[in-house]
Symmetry: C2
Subunit: 418 residues, 2 copies
């Protein structure tokens, strides 16, 4: 069985807005064993919409439409589906009553155009929408001699997602052969995709029943494993087996085998070892701290830190001597070590992190920093006995350099804690 | 004239990847006066691709295809276009020579499948690609009695964008009536969309020749104005006039009339007044500092600050007395004022910012904080003479609460500097 997703709405044909519902819908359909063969985006334009629906009905088995179910003149999905299928539209009295009640509860008068949301394509099952005023509709019809499933869903993701999960998943599953899905999600920091793939491909290619997707992000590679079987235990066993082999082949560079973000892994490891971390960031400007504190309940492991953007603050918050900065520069191994050691002493944390660098677009200040290239980053980690230092040369723009530096700093702390 | 964009690639029919080229292409086409009527996403599947191309040729005047021009068996766009238009494919000798040269320069042997990238649809203008191995192709053909423009572009944005800008824009413009575009981009923080629209709609509706788009983001509303005229001066005059009226109606809440991000406005205003800022962040965990330091050359206005996630660090970095925190709680007006004042004194900055709050999902620590609800945020700004304090109750999840708090803090500093 193959599916088409039609996203309805003129705003998605502008440079500003994109259909995102189809990513969620594709994941759901894939879980049910349905592949998405086409996606179409069409504006609020009746004849174009009818045309798109007819085309979808001729080339796929399942058609999901998102959007165009509101009360305005531009909301044409109900009409277009009825027209494409040569079915009547019926105004549902129970839905009208529910609409009036919904407005009454909110003490807003209901304008008559809202009644349009009670229009139902003849034969459709009404899918009640707890999060909005327009219900979804589910049609199981015959079109030119073939069985077709046509589902109408409201556009807002907060309405569409629960409607699909609560009302559509079960109905589609009852039509399709039973299938159970198991997944694993491996994440690797700082290794190029080509190196990961060279190691991983010979392994995952032996698992033809597991779908392996490699995704490259800035300073991170993700391996998504998915297996569908008639029983969950079978599917789980296959993905677990493959995940274990991949982990063995890729070694310590795998920071998570369950999809956990790097910052959460670091917080978890610190907590397990009952250690704390404090940061002194220059070029990353708080990005490492921001990532660590995005993890709920991170305060037991991450004490906090300082953003020492100027030389004065490097002294005020991390006791870096002025002379040291003057002699070696702000972006130097010496200053970065002193930051890591200083912030550790000052805060009483178990580990101190220092990050300095030139993120560009401008170069270093006059003096020793002027000779250093844009993209040069130093990372130091102090544990009270020793201080490690890493020099990086990161290509790319300011945003990329800062992100890569934060990723490297977090991954180094993770490796230190293993 | 209307256009269709077809994005070719099976990876865009998975839950993991989305077509993004079409946003850029839509902006470019709109600038030329061409509306996008349909977008289609289709996999690397010959018959489906041919079908999609034929449908597009029947319903639009301009067809742009992105992707499927590489050397692998899955790269089928050239073949599909030729088949849909009943044209021959010709292997171009100059392109083959260029391919061999490209590989020779990089000292990599070229596998024979790469020659496929020298295939040209009969009659197509070859668009040289400086950033990749597959050139684009531009066809000006008659299909079923109608003139059609068909453009084949490589999928990687780094290749597609310059190819469109350098090779396609001019060719399309020569076919279309001349048009000049002027734009303005107004940004407003923290005001709900409904309030903005109630004030703005009566104004922009009087400018039917200016296309006004309202976009809502977290804690920010954007107004995009676009006007096309036969001369640039005319177009510019219209958008400027409308922008001025909108600014007058919306007042100080407009933080930028040129699209500048809020953090950059704050850095600019601080620089203009020769003032500096330092931050002491608890619940935002470095987000305000990270945003400010994302602006190049921000160090002259933003000294830095501290992430005072624990109570100890509030004392160590901003001299907040332990007794004050114990008596009033970490998330309290008193502690937040003390943070703003303390960080200002400690760093010698002109302005000190203190932010505390409960971002959730867990509640406050035992004691006074336990009574405060999730979403409660305090923001204090100290200038040496007085300290202002704001209490917020922000609905939503951890990410939203932190973003909204950072937006509010930055906007308050902006307003103070006006």
């Amino acid at each position: 069985m193959i599916a088409e997703i039609i996203a309805v709405g003129s705003e998605m044909l502008t440079p500003h807005r994109q259909d995102t519902n189809s990513l969620f819908l594709t994941a759901e359909l894939n879980d049910l064993g349905v592949q998405v063969a086409f996606k179409t985006i069409v504006g609020d334009h009746l004849s174009r919409l009818i045309l798109s629906i007819r085309i979808a009905l001729t080339r796929t088995d399942v058609l999901i439409l998102s959007g165009g179910l509101g009360p305005t003149e531009d909301d044409l999905t109900r009409e277009a589906v009825a027209s494409a299928l040569s079915l009547e539209i019926q105004r549902d009295n129970d839905l009208i009553a529910a609409l009036y009640k919904r407005f009454a509860v909110r003490k807003i008068p209901m304008s008559p155009n809202n009644e349009k949301q009670a229009d139902v394509v003849a034969g459709a099952i009404i899918l009640p929408n707890k999060n909005g005023s327009a219900p979804g509709q589910f049609l199981d019809v015959v079109y030119e001699g073939h069985r077709k499933i046509v589902i109408l869903l409201p556009g807002p993701p907060k309405e569409l997602k629960p409607l699909f999960e609560n009302e559509c998943r079960r109905r589609l599953a009852s039509i399709l052969p039973p299938r159970f899905i198991a997944r694993r999600f491996l994440r690797i920091a700082l290794v190029p995709e080509s190196i990961i793939d060279a190691k991983a491909a010979p392994i995952y290619k032996q698992y033809e029943d597991v779908e392996t997707t490699i995704l490259a992000h800035t300073a991170e590679i993700q391996l998504h494993l998915l297996c569908a079987k008639p029983s969950l235990a079978e599917a789980q066993a296959r993905v677990d087996e493959l995940a274990e082999k991949l982990e063995n082949a890729l070694g310590e560079s795998v920071f998570s085998a369950t999809g956990m973000p790097l910052e959460e892994v670091v917080i978890l490891l610190l907590g397990m070892k009952e250690l704390t971390l404090a940061t002194a960031e220059s070029c990353t400007g708080g990005l490492v701290a921001e990532r660590l504190t995005s993890v709920p309940n991170s305060s037991s492991a991450f004490s906090g830190g300082s953003v020492v953007y100027t030389n004065e603050l490097k002294s005020i918050f991390a006791d870096v001597p002025h002379e040291l900065i003057e002699r070696h520069g702000a972006v130097s191994p010496e200053t970065t070590r002193a930051l890591a050691e200083g912030i550790r002493r000052r805060t009483g944390a178990s580990l101190g992190l220092g990050v300095t660098g030139l993120a560009g677009p401008g170069g270093g200040a006059p003096g020793p920093d002027a000779e250093r290239p844009i993209g040069r980053v130093y990372i130091a980690i102090a544990d009270g006995r020793q201080t490690t230092l890493t020099e990086l040369n990161i290509p790319g723009d300011r945003e990329r350099i800062r992100w890569w530096a934060s990723q490297n700093a977090l991954d180094q702390i993770r490796r230190k804690l293993l």
